[in-house]
């Protein structure tokens, strides 16, 4: 099914009764060239790039629940490429460029909205750090603008500029950043991958690996039987340690819960994504009108997909410090997702020490923006057995070599990244 203004008009004239499923819910075959574990954004994007860029179409994506039931469908949908360290800067910009053409590539409306991401600063020192990050971005060909308070007052008159503790001095704006509709990203990749022959298999939990005499992975054991594979790639977000353990591996990762919040719908208020620089609070307004926001992870290991009240309080305090007038808006929903927090806050995209098993993990809470880039470089690794140049530093052994990519400079304490 190809979507266009004509398909929309045709469907409208027939009362929208003739839409067909946008992707094929497949049953497992005996064997695939590549099996991807995890039907989140990253797994589906990987499958699509394997089929579309690297000519490998005998591919299955195995998902234990339904596609998008993990973090892909739980995140606050912010996309940006404002990173400062080598390794991150180029990778996230690759991803941003793929966001910019995703809807045409996939023939699917993912509601990619480049409404701008604004990081506010509240002190001279923070301004200097932001100026430096902005310069790093610009040297690498990425857009960044440092705005002063006067410019912000024109754009966002409702911010609490005179906050006694954290006056807003200005902000670093990436205009090309913004948001995308998370579910549509999942469905879009499923739609396009499925059309190229990729099997998307739901309710199929991987429970183990089959290995040959040399220890090479030859396939997976699942709740729907054994499936053979030339190569297996795992993209299971918060479950990476559990899946890797089935192959006898321990990872430099802890699983943590991050919460997200949505308010009741209000009239258009926030023109872009903004982040409070003196605490942890980020917010945007969805096209339905709800304020979508979040903050810190809860900070303790969790697989429970729900968080606790102290973080909720902290997040709301951050919101009140920044935009006092939202105090009367009611909270509508709140939920949690489980993410891999890596030891340096940076992802791992690499061959594993086990032959035939490839790892895409450690996305922390910035993995949504990485979805297209991650899919592309992981497909590259699976197809060519070689890291893509923009992912060449995301190696599993970097901790052993002292080559961490620690954007926040926090050290080996996952809950601080």
């Amino acid at each position: 099914m190809k979507y266009s203004i004509f398909s929309l008009a045709r469907a409208a004239l027939s009362g929208h009764k003739n839409w067909r499923p946008t992707w094929r819910d497949a049953a497992p075959k005996d064997r695939y060239d590549v099996v991807i574990i995890g039907g989140g954004g990253h797994g589906l994007a990987t499958a699509w790039f394997l089929a579309s860029e690297f000519g490998i179409r005998n591919v299955a994506v195995l998902e234990k629940g339904w596609i998008g039931s993990g973090n892909a469908g739980r995140n606050t949908t912010i996309i940006r490429s404002n990173y400062g360290l080598p390794g991150n800067t180029g990778f996230y910009e690759l991803s941003m460029k793929l966001w910019e053409r995703m809807e045409q590539d996939l023939n699917y409306n993912a509601m990619v909205s480049q409404r701008g991401v604004l990081n506010l600063y509240h002190s001279d020192a923070q301004r200097d750090a932001f100026a430096r990050r902005g310069n790093t971005m610009r040297i690498n060909g990425i857009d960044a603008e440092l705005l002063d308070q006067a410019a912000l007052r024109k754009m966002l008159p409702f911010l609490n500029f005179e906050n006694a503790r954290f006056p807003i001095q200005g902000g670093l704006l990436q205009r090309r950043g913004g948001t995308a509709r998370h579910d549509a990203v999942v469905w879009g990749y499923a739609h396009a991958a499925s059309a190229l022959g990729v099997d998307i298999i739901q309710n199929c939990e991987v429970t183990g690996f089959t290995r040959d005499a040399n220890g090479k992975v030859t396939g997976v054991e699942t709740s729907r039987g054994k499936i053979g594979a030339g190569k297996v790639g795992m993209a299971v977000a918060g479950s990476s340690s559990r899946v890797a353990a089935m192959a006898g591996l321990r990872l430099p990762i802890e699983s943590h819960v991050l919460q997200a919040f949505v308010s009741e719908a209000i009239k258009p208020l926030l023109p872009n994504v903004m982040t409070f620089g003196a605490g942890h609070f980020y917010v945007s307004q969805s096209d339905k009108g709800g304020l979508v926001f979040g903050g810190d992870i809860d900070g303790y290991n969790s697989y429970a997909q729900r968080g606790n009240l102290p973080v909720m309080e902290d997040v709301c305090e951050g919101g009140m410090a920044l935009i006092p007038m939202i105090g009367r808006v009611r909270l509508l929903r709140q939920w949690g997702g489980i993410m891999d927090m890596s030891m340096d806050g940076t992802p791992i995209i690499d061959k594993s020490p086990v032959d035939g098993l490839y790892i895409n993990a450690g996305w922390c809470y910035g993995g949504f923006k990485a979805t297209p880039g991650s899919g592309f470089v992981f497909a590259h690794l699976l197809a060519r057995d070689q890291s893509h140049k923009e992912a060449a530093l995301f190696r599993l052994d970097r901790f052993q070599r002292g080559a961490m990519i620690d954007e926040k400079g926090q050290g080996a304490q996952p809950n601080l990244h």
Partner: protein, 91 residues
């Protein structure tokens, strides 16, 4: 989630700070790089019952060893962690 501190009683979570898995043991000074790498970076990341270190910064400022299920957040035991804080009560 509320934690019952053995010294202060049941308190809300916001009073506590999390360190992590209590299992990794600091290797001996001459143990070699692999052992240190293992200790500093690799984790079991248990899905289930785990023993972990928490700090009661908003209360008695003791380090605690909490036994907690990471799948449900249910806490089954809280005791003083071995070390300086615990020495105060002779543990």
């Amino acid at each position: 989630m509320r934690i019952t501190c053995p010294f202060c009683g049941e308190r809300e979570l916001g009073e506590f700070t999390y360190l992590g898995d209590a299992k990794p043991q600091r290797p001996a000074a001459d143990a070699g790089e692999d052992a240190v790498y293992n200790y500093v970076y690799l984790r079991d990341n248990i899905a289930g019952v785990m023993s972990e270190h928490w700090y009661h910064g908003g209360g008695c400022r003791a380090w605690l060893k909490v036994t907690r299920n990471t799948l449900t957040h249910e806490i089954s035991a809280v005791e003083a962690a071995a070390g300086a804080g615990a020495a105060k009560v002779g543990a």
